[in-house]
Every structure is written in C-alpha cells, then in structure tokens.
Amino acid sequence: MTDATITPSQPINRRSAFRYFLAQLNASTWIGIVIVVSLVLAAFFAPQLATHDPAHQNIMDQLAEPGSKFWLGADQYGRDIWSRIVYGARYSLTIGFFAILTALVVGTLIGMIAGYVGGRIDIIFMQVMDVVLAFPSLILGLALVALMGATLSNIVIAIAFTATPAFARIARAGVITQRDREYVQACQAMGFSGPRILFRHIMPAILPEVMVMASLWMATAVRTEASLAFIGLGLAPPTPTWGGMVRDGFDNILSSFHLALVPSLAILLLVLAFNLIGDGLRDAIDPRLKDAS
C-alpha cells in the first residue's frame, strides 16, 4: 500500500479527544473509579462519617454485635469498627498514594535516563533495578520497615522502594522505542538539548503507559501496606489500619468473624478498584492489548 499518509476524515481537537478517551472506558473501569472516589471521600470526611472516636475503648462494648449503636459492631476493646474502617481508609490511601508517587517519579526518571543515555549508565541503573526486583516486594518491604522502624514515612519509603523498578523498566522500554523515531532525530538535528528532548518530547509519549502502571501498582501498594500491618510491622496501635484490624480480628475469629471480615472486604474492595481502573486504562490506551492479556 502506498497509503503512507492517511488523513482522518474529521479533525479531532484535544477536548473532544479527551471525551473520546472517556468514552473508551468500559463499565468495570467506571465501577473502579466510583469505588476509589467514594473511598477517597470517605477518608476525607472521616470525622463527619465516623460515629465514634476510632481509638476510644470501652470494655462494656467489647465484641458488640452490629446494630444501631455500632453499625458494624465493635472489636475486643470496644472500639467502633465502622469508624475505624473510615479512618483506616486515610492510612491505606495516603500510604499507597505517596509510595506510588515516589516510585513513579524516581523510577521513571531512572528508566528514562537509562534508556536515553544507554551504554554503561543503562547497564548499571538497570542491573541495580533488577536486583531490587529479584526480592518479593513483601519481603523487601518487611526488611526495610524492620530496619528503619514502622513510621508513616518509612512505610511509604519501603513500599516506594519495592515499586520503583517496575516504573524504571516501563519508562526505559518506552524511551527506547521513541529514541530512534524520526521526530527525536529531527529534534537533535535542530540542536535541542538532551534533557529538553527527553522531558518535553519523549516523556509525554510514555506517560500513558506509566499511568496505567501506577494504578495497577496502587493495588499492590495497598496490599503490601495491609500485609505489613497484618504481620505487625504497620503503624503502631491504636492507629486504625485495615491490615492491623484484620490481625486484631484474628484473635476472635471463631466467635466474631466479622471483626476480620469487614477490614478484609475493605482491602479487597480498594485493591479490586485499582485493578479495574488499571485494566480499563490500559485497554483504552492500547486496544491491541485487550485480547492479549
């Protein structure tokens, strides 16, 4: 075919392009978005939504059944589960968000530089990333938190550390495919500097893939945070974390199984929502991958 230049029948401007993109998202993606937005709102309005102080203990209400006073019951210290779930959303979302944001910025930067510069820098950067990737993320997070102490910022750093190689790899792959394209050569021929070409011209091309990666890794981050809390390396009690609540609920799993079930469902819901969004974004950005996965 000689049809090297196919012109679209109708010009698309950027606003309608965005609308078109939104129309590409399937129903399950929207479900994911609705779940995440509701949980974010819940976390933000936790003081208004909570019926009790999440840390307030009352021996009289120990293991109360769900009812009008405690919507989802109370735990072995008499703390209201509903309030703890609502406040717990704050920690899960904050830790997940900042961990992935850090990993995204650091990892993408490393990957882009490695891919663009190539040669020895590429080999060194990526081999370091491979070493990190070789550890299961939970084990690595566990070791880091155990080493540094379980504070909020340390947990964020530990999870970010485990997620960084994924972003480095995808950014590097994206840069390498763009690097030899003609528009990059055109930029070089016009005397543009390396950073300008990399950040102004190549980065916009690889960002969609990075964003898909970010939403999928949000799910992993939430899970890792919950796992850390479950094995006791989360934020110190009485901070209400979902992983910690599952752990506490385990003591009375036979008599009051809802103590572990409710936070487990919350974790499940958030992880599922991020996965749905990630899958939906990927399909909308690259429809060819839909059948492949």
Binding site: I12, E182, Y183, A186
Partner: protein, 590 residues
C-alpha cells in the same frame, strides 16, 4: 476484445460502513493482457484488488456489483470455494517482498507449500516443480538457493520468489499490487521485464496496480485511472498516453522525468584531472564537504569481536554554493542519506572535513555544533514521523527559535505566523496537532520549522518521496520559491529522478558509498559518463508506450551484489577522476 475476458468486473462498489470508497467500477481483462489500475493513495485501487480476492474484512466492508471469473460470480462464492480460487485461479504479488515471505522458513519450503496445496504434488516431483519455478524466475543456482532463508536474498530476488509463488499454480489472473514500488529502479526494470516474459509464456491476465505512469507505459495494454474511488479515464495504453482526456491523467503523465530516455554521448573524451575542485565561482561555498568517510563497526562471533567495517560513505567530497541545489542520487544503501546525517552529526564521522560558510565544524565542540545546527536544517522523508505527535504545530515552529535564542515572545509568535503563511498554511491553525493535517501540509510544517532558524542550508532527505504526484509538484515548487526568496541552499537527497531533474542545479551520483559522478543536472542526466549512472538512468521507466523496445533489455545481474562490509585492514583505493565538461566530473574505474 476478441477473446473472452478472464475476469469481468461489473458495477463494483465497496463501502466501509456508510462511506463508499469504490463507485461503480467496470473493467474486464483478457487472457495474456495487462490492465493497469492507476491512482494515488486513497484512490481505492488496493481496495478493488482486495474485493476481487474477497479479502476485505467482511464485518465492516460491503461489496456490491459482480466479479465474474470462469463464469462464476466471486461475490457469491462460499469461503471454502473462495479459498480454492485464491492462489489457484487468482494469485497476488504484494508491494513488500521483505515482509511477504516468512522469514523463518526456507524459500524452497514456502514455494513447495503453495504447489503442494494447489497441485497435490509430493516427493521428488514436488522438488522438481520448485526448482523449475525458481529457474523460471531466474534465481541463480536454484539447487542451493532453495535451502536458504529469505534474509539471504536481496529485495529483487525476494520479489522474484514472490512471483514464482504467484505463478506456481498457473493462475488465470495475477494481481500485482505495486510490486516494484519498494525496489530500486534497476531492480524494478529487471522485475518488470521478467513479469512480462512470464506473462507471455503462461498467458495469464494481469491486474497491475500502481501509481507510477512510467511503469504503466512500460507494460500495460489497457489503463484505468482511478480517483477517489471513481473511474476518471480508461482506454488502451496508447490512447491514454497520446490523448489523455482528463486533466488529472495529464498531470500524472507529465510528472515523469523528461530528460530520461534520451541519453546523449559525451562528445569530447573525458580528461583525467587531479581531484575535484569544490567550487567554481570563487565565492566561499555554504557547505564544503571533503573526504567524508563514515564507517559502522560490524561485530560478530560469540564475544562480539570487531570483525569488519561497513563502509557507508567513502571519501565523499562535495560543495554547495549560496542559493544552489545539489541533488544526491543513488539506490537504497548507497550512503546518500548517511552523508546528510553525518553532516548534522546524526551519524558518526570517521574522517574528513565539513565546512559551513567557510568555518570548519568541530563535532567535539558543543558551541561549534550548536552553530552548525542553526545554519543547517533537515527535512525528513516522513513528515508525520518527524513531528512530535503531541506538540501543536505552532509550538513546533516556535521551539527551535526559542532554543537558539533567535526570537522571543511576541516577535517569535509573529515570525511563526508569517512562516506559516509563507509555506501556504493558515496561521489560525497554529494550535492544531500534526494528525489534523494532510501529508503535504505536514511537509509544509516541517519546511516552516526548518526556515524558522533562517538556515543557510536545508538538507532534504527524500523529502518529497512519500507524497502523491500532485502534492509532490506543489512542495517542489514551494521549495524553489522559498529558495529564491531566502537564498537558502538545498542538499536534495532523493532516488526520484523526476524530482531531482525539476529542482537540482547540480547532481552527484552515489554508488556503494562513493560519489561516482558529479556535475550540472543536464550534464549528468543528459550525458552520463559513469557506467553506473548510465545503468541507473536507463532503468528509469519510459514516459510513453511508443518508446517500448527502444532501449536494451535490462540484464539480470547474476553476480553477487558488491558488499559494503570490508575487513578491518581494507584501504579504499584513492579515487581517480576525469572531467567531461566544465564542472562535470566522472570517477574512473579502479
């Protein structure tokens, strides 16, 4: 027509959804004759051929009318019946011989598979049939070649294997969809001659799809010109060429190079000279390249040892004066693009000297490099690929001015709008993205972007090769106008002789990394001195069917192509030159 037609197409129309792309097409082809379906990209010619093969995606495309072959309407056949027709009664040759063969199967096995399926041959008879076919398409040493993989075949040989596969089952109709477009002209001439010979032997009807009127003049019996899915004109090839009724057909015919086909002789024998002077006018040339050599390392073996060098460009010297256009012609792999890239440091220079406006470019010095990159701009073959798809075109034109500090703020914005107007674009579209423009408009954007730096020299690397004929002429005219206005010089790298003839003041011919001839356009194209230049020019298709048979038939080269890969110790012999007329230099055979 005296004979019954092999295929007869009546009122064929094809629609994708609600968009009709082919309207009421009628034609028939008799046994042994060739119909050329001519048109630009998007004219519906490939869709027509796919409709005949019933290879259009059935869910979205609807074909109406009738296509009769052997008394059966192909549009009503069931899929299993159609499979018997494909490859059995109709076979197809595609444009890309590189991708149409399976790279992981031996050539002989691929050919054998076709013959086995359609003829049911087995064992030694099958092998004999394969050899027979390879001999027919003049593959040298078929016994050894049938056991080799496609990557060891050159483009022309691969296309001959494709022809062998197409002919293997004695089809009644061969559809050739731009079969020579991806090939170099000398190889194209060989392939066309072969196709014509084989058609005479087998008596097959050929539907030849092309955009190149030269190829049509070369081998068609009948012509049908398509535009936007409608028939513009049809008739015998002589009628159409001698007496085109439609202005569009006329423009297609006139796009062919005119000097070609009337090769003159050099009247005075060429005199040996010592080296080629860079410039004759006495003024300092805008670009002066001397002894430019570019080599790429070849690593092989388990440890990736350096075993040789690809001599991409070998001691090339050329100069361009202010306001002049130098054409750099040659076939694929001759190193013409590498010269352009080496000048602006997109390819590594091994040795040699590049001067821009009398100042030597020091490729190790960032300041010298930045100055050169302001003075020398490049336009690429694929305007879409060379624009950032996410950047508005206004910003694309502004950015180089800002980077080099040539203009700022409102001044830069005004210059951008002025440039867009100068290249024939509406300045109000500055905030549009590249995909909203057509191919020709995108090339105008690239030209505006290059001009934004007020360069002294623009390197145009196959800048018009991907454009349709009418658009190509417009872009060339624009380039000529801008040259007059701005006094910019061009290094026009192209394999398209018609374009070179139109725009270039002087031409340099490249062959395997070496410049073999350089001189004024009328001298080099009109009175070529080097043996390769003559071969290149005589391979260009004729411009009128009356010229058929006037030139010697192209020989099929049985020799292995010259390899540009040389051992490490290889020293290129010093070039010897002779002068045919003023400024016309020819490299002597060494």
């Amino acid at each position: 027509m005296e004979k019954n037609p092999v295929i007869s197409v009546r009122d064929l129309s094809v629609a994708f959804g609600s968009t009709r792309v082919v309207h009421d097409l009628n034609f028939e082809i008799a046994a042994g004759s060739t119909l050329a379906l001519v048109g630009e990209s998007g004219s519906g010619k490939s869709v027509t051929s796919l409709a005949i093969m019933r290879l259009l995606p059935e869910r979205v495309a609807r074909a109406g009318g009738s296509i009769t072959l052997d008394g059966r309407d192909l549009l009503t056949l069931t899929e299993p019946e159609m499979r018997q027709v494909r490859g059995g009664r109709i076979s197809m040759i595609f444009q890309e011989p590189m991708t149409s063969l399976n790279p992981v199967q031996r050539v002989g096995d691929q050919l054998a598979e076709v013959i086995r399926i359609h003829k049911g041959l087995r064992g030694p008879a099958l092998k004999e049939a394969v050899l027979e076919m390879l001999r027919k398409v003049r593959i040298p040493d078929p016994e050894a070649r049938m056991h080799q993989y496609p990557h060891t075949f050159s483009g022309g040989m691969r296309q001959r294997v494709m022809i062998a596969m197409a002919l293997a089952c004695d089809p009644a109709l061969i559809i050739a969809d731009e079969p020579t477009t991806a090939l170099d002209v000398t190889v194209q001439a060989q392939t066309l001659a072969l196709l014509k010979d084989l058609q005479r032997e087998t008596g097959a009807a050929v539907l030849f799809i092309t955009h190149d009127m030269g190829v049509v003049a070369e081998l068609a019996d009948e012509v049908l010109v398509l535009r936007r899915g409608r028939e513009i004109e049809s008739g015998t090839v002589h009628e159409v060429f001698s007496n085109p009724k439609d202005a569009y057909t006329r423009s297609l015919i006139e796009a062919a190079p005119s000097l070609v086909g009337k090769l003159g002789e050099i009247s005075v024998p060429a005199q040996p000279v010592q080296g080629v002077p860079a410039s004759f006018t006495g003024e300092v040339p805008v670009l002066d390249v001397s002894d430019l050599t570019v080599r790429f390392p070849v690593h092989s073996g388990f440890f990736g040892r350096l075993t040789g060098m690809v001599h991409a460009v070998e001691r090339a010297s050329l100069a361009i004066t202010k306001g002049e256009t130098l054409g750099l012609v040659g076939e694929s792999g001759s190193g013409k693009s590498t010269i352009g890239k080496a000048i602006i440091s997109l390819a590594p220079i091994d040795s040699g000297n590049v001067q821009v406006s009398g100042q030597r470019v020091d490729y190790g010095d960032p300041r010298s490099l930045a100055r050169m990159r302001r003075d020398v701009q490049m336009i690429f073959q694929d305007p879409y690929g060379s624009l950032d798809a996410r950047q508005t075109i206004g910003s694309a034109i502004l950015e180089p001015m800002q980077v080099h500090g040539l203009a700022k703020g409102a001044e830069a914005f005004e210059k951008m709008q002025w440039l867009m107007e100068r290249v024939g674009l509406d300045p109000s579209r500055a905030s549009s993205l590249p995909h909203e423009f057509s191919g020709g408009q995108r090339q105008r954007i690239c030209i505006a972007r290059a001009l934004a730096m007020s360069p002294k020299l623009i390197i145009a690397d196959e800048a018009v090769s991907a454009l349709d004929v009418a658009i190509k002429a417009q872009i060339i005219d624009l380039m000529i106008d801008l040259q007059k206005e701005f006094g910019v010089s061009y290094l026009f790298i192209s394999h398209d002789m018609a374009a070179v003839e139109r725009i270039c003041d002087r031409v340099a011919v490249m062959y395997f990394g070496e410049i073999v001839e350089i001189g004024k356009t009328e001298d080099v194209i009109g009175r070529p001195g080097h043996e390769y230049t003559r071969r290149l020019l005589s391979a260009i298709p004729i411009t009128h069917p009356d010229q058929r048979g006037r030139r010697p038939p192209p020989g099929v080269d049985v020799t292995q192509p010259r390899s540009p890969i040389k051992p490490l110790a290889y020293q290129a012999p010093a070039p010897r030159w002779s002068m045919a007329s003023e400024g016309h230099f020819i490299r002597s055979a060494t």
